[in-house]
């Protein structure tokens, strides 16, 4: 019935309730259809002024058809709530990943304090706890294969946890409307084996430290979600394109003209609204505290490389 991957025990439990309700629904809907069809056929008006019996009510029948269907409803309510409670309290030994949501990108920070873009890697067979916060408006982390979802609110942490059965790849959606690119605010959860996960983490950390600056910049351009608003081929998205801007003098709606150099890019990242390009809106979030110096340098070098 629900042809979605069941990636955890919890997902299977939710699906059991789902099926229970489905069977309940089919049963009662069948009663409606059969009764309706039968009555229309059997009691079709045959002639003018046909008489009908004066049946006005039947208390016993009414009590029965009110009480009997209510019993499965009670089952649904309790079963549904108990299962939900399982998804609320993460085990103490969970792997904790911090999630920051912003228009329109995700950032996943691992216990080593580093983040590597729109793919979340987690080990199979171990509970993973997400501690989530939004940097601007309300977003929502939705992982359908695990049947979990939670709003991500500014200035308040919300939590989710899940435990994957086995390695695989799972789609993440933003499920709370957040503006123009809401439907592109996607991510992946990649489930590895424990060893693969550790290897991946080490390798990524090493890559990030040793990468040449422009390459690191290129990686950050995708990982930090710059690409959702700034193109590198000259097309206008929400913000100005990066193509060929290095060394140009830009006009601003709220400041004196300035040349695009290292200091300008640094300021644009840390205080994006200090200088707003003429013709664009001041909608860029600040990356203050979210980028290391080396990463800022890398982004500047990357922009420089885009001729």
């Amino acid at each position: 019935m629900m042809p979605v991957t069941q990636a955890s025990d919890y997902a299977r439990e939710v699906d059991s309730i789902y099926m229970f309700i489905t069977y309940f629904g089919i049963f009662f809907y069948s009663i409606i259809i059969i009764a309706l069809g039968y009555f229309i056929h059997k009691y079709r008006r045959r002639r003018k002024n046909e008489d009908t019996p004066d049946i006005t009510h039947n208390t016993a029948l009414e009590v029965i058809w009110t009480v009997i269907p209510s019993i499965p409803l009670v089952v649904m309510a309790f079963w549904g709530f108990n299962t939900y409670m399982q998804a609320r309290v993460a085990p103490a030994d969970s792997l904790e990943i911090k999630v920051i949501a912003k228009k329109w990108a995700w950032e996943f920070t691992y216990p080593n304090g580093m983040s590597f873009g729109q793919e979340m890697h987690v080990p199979a067979g171990r509970p993973v706890k997400l501690v989530m916060i939004s940097q601007d408006v309300i977003h929502d982390f939705f992982l359908p294969d695990f049947r979990i979802k939670a709003d991500i609110v500014p200035s308040r942490y919300t939590q989710l946890w899940f435990q994957a059965d086995e390695p695989g790849e799972h789609q993440v959606y933003c499920a709370e409307y957040c503006g123009r690119d809401h439907s592109n605010m996607l991510a992946k959860v990649v489930v590895d084996t424990e060893e693969q996960y550790q290897q991946w983490l080490e390798q990524k950390a090493e890559e990030a430290m040793n990468m040449p600056l422009p390459e690191l910049g290129k990686l950050l351009y995708v990982n930090k979600g710059c690409n959702t608003c700034h193109s590198i081929d000259g097309t206008r998205i929400q913000g100005p394109s990066f193509k060929g801007i290095w060394g140009q003098t830009h006009q601003f709606s709220n400041a004196q003209p300035a040349v695009v150099d290292e200091n300008y890019i640094r300021e644009s990242l840390l205080q994006p609204t200090a200088k707003v390009r003429a013709g664009y809106e001041a909608i860029m979030p600040s990356f203050q505290g979210l980028l290391r110096e080396r990463e800022i340098q890398a982004l500047a070098e990357y922009v420089k490389s885009l001729k």
Binding site: P3, V4, V14, Y18, I21, F24, G25, F28, Y29, I33, A35, F39, I40, Y43, R45, R46, K48, N49, T52, P53, I55, T56, H57, E62, W65, L73, V74, M76, A77, W79, G80, F81, T83, Y84, A87, D136, V137, I138, D140, F142, R147, I148, K149, A150, D151, V153, P154, S155, Q171, Y173, C174, A175, E176, Y177, G179, R180, D181, H182, S183, N184
Partner: protein
Amino acid sequence: MAEVLTQRTPAAVHQPEGNFLTENPGLLNWMFTVDHKRIGLMYFWTIMTMFFVGGVLALALRTELLTPKTTIVSAEVYNQLFTLHGVIMTFLVLVPVIPATLGNFVLPMMLGAKDVAFPRLNLLSYYLYVFGALLAVGAIIGGGLDTGWTFYTPYSSTISGGVSIMTMGAFVLGFSSILTGVNFIATIHKLRAPGLSWYNMPLFVWGMYATAVIQVLATPVIGITMVLLLMERLFQVGIFDASLGGDPVLFQHFFWFYSHPVVYIMILPGMACISEVIPTFSHKPIFGYKAVAWSSVGIAVVSFFVWGHHMFVSGQSEFAGAIFSFLTFVVAIPSGVKVWNWLATMYRGSISLGAPMLYAIAFLLLFGIGGLTGLFLATVAVDVHLHDTYFIVAHFHYVMMGGTLIAFFAGLHYWWPKMYGRMYNEFWAAIGCLLVFLGFNGTFIPQFIVGSRGMPRRYYNYLDQFQFLHVASTIGSYVLGIGLVIMAATLIVPLFRKRYDAPNNPWGAASLEWTVSSPPPTHNFHHVPVVTHGPYDFKAARRLEQMESHS
């Protein structure tokens, strides 16, 4: 097809010297009328215009979704279109459609009254509606608005565009709705004809009463919410903005405290129409009158305590989630009871399949799906998965369109002869109903599947794997559109006929509005009617009619 003209004898077709349509002609006389029937018709045409706009927007949205990326519009435009579609359909169509049109038109007549209690307030309510509608539509055209009809903060309080004007529009529309509610409650309490006790009132009136209670009690809260949102935007007062010390989720509580009861402002009048049509077309009294009447009131009361089921994933406490889930199941029970009552009414009846009955049957089938899929969403663990997916979209369209609007169409076909004094073509009405039914299912059944597979709503772009179902849904929506056009044409074409050919009581109904001519005289009743039989005592009504036509 249906057996329509039981009473079409020369004596029964009482050609009145003047009726409310033709007496006092002229634009100004219409514009400043306080006649509830004229106001009802003005509401009807205005709301239908908005429904047309909202429908065209829906077709544009469905067309855009034919392909995952750009089909006809950009993401910005798409987001504005679904916002406008949502705002128009909820605030401008679904909320007022039955009370303000059918309710205004028939409620006083059902009570044997000459008008509603406050006719001038009624007219004011209409103009507030027009003004609010202009603000709402102007906000989109003037400033652009892409918040969705739910206006969640902090998105709505921080973006530029027409949000402020829209909130003012919603505020004004709220007032319009309150005035209608106040008017109906006072009318039902004080203007019933002699002999018309509470349990002798048609169930339509009970439904309107329950609706009016919700309108009066819930709407002020959306009013103040909109004021606070406006202050937030103008002065950053900080109530809903976390960065200023406020609470963004508080907005959701305020919003749903109104907007869940509003679902029942929409569906109770729908049930009210069905409760008239099914007994009349089964020629048999309603089964369990008191159960149906009190279940309306019960729904109205419980509807105030279930708003939190929109917020299972918003971070509210687990305890609150449990309570709201439980109460949501409680509110499901009276709705289910009504379905059994309608079915039992048909049992051993004498069922004629006129257009109103066809729509009533469509209602039972569609609302059944809408109600049963609601159970998934009341169950917390399952709702967490389905929340904000297409499953929700499909569910509330089954309740709102499959329920409210289909019931409205049933009521419209039922009272149309009374409103305009002309019969419509039953064959084309049936074709329209069939296409609407098939097209509607074609549109929304695929959305249940897409949603349960995890596709979120309000998505401009989607994964390729969902395309087949989206194409199916879009084709369904075109069929639905064609069905609605046929329905409209079937109703409008007879209006060009000069002669009134509708008898006073084409369906053999037993409530008071069918004792006056079609269309009714300006003051409804030449003599204050005295009620001597129940609203579903069709035999007594027939005896009375025969006595009158012989005398």
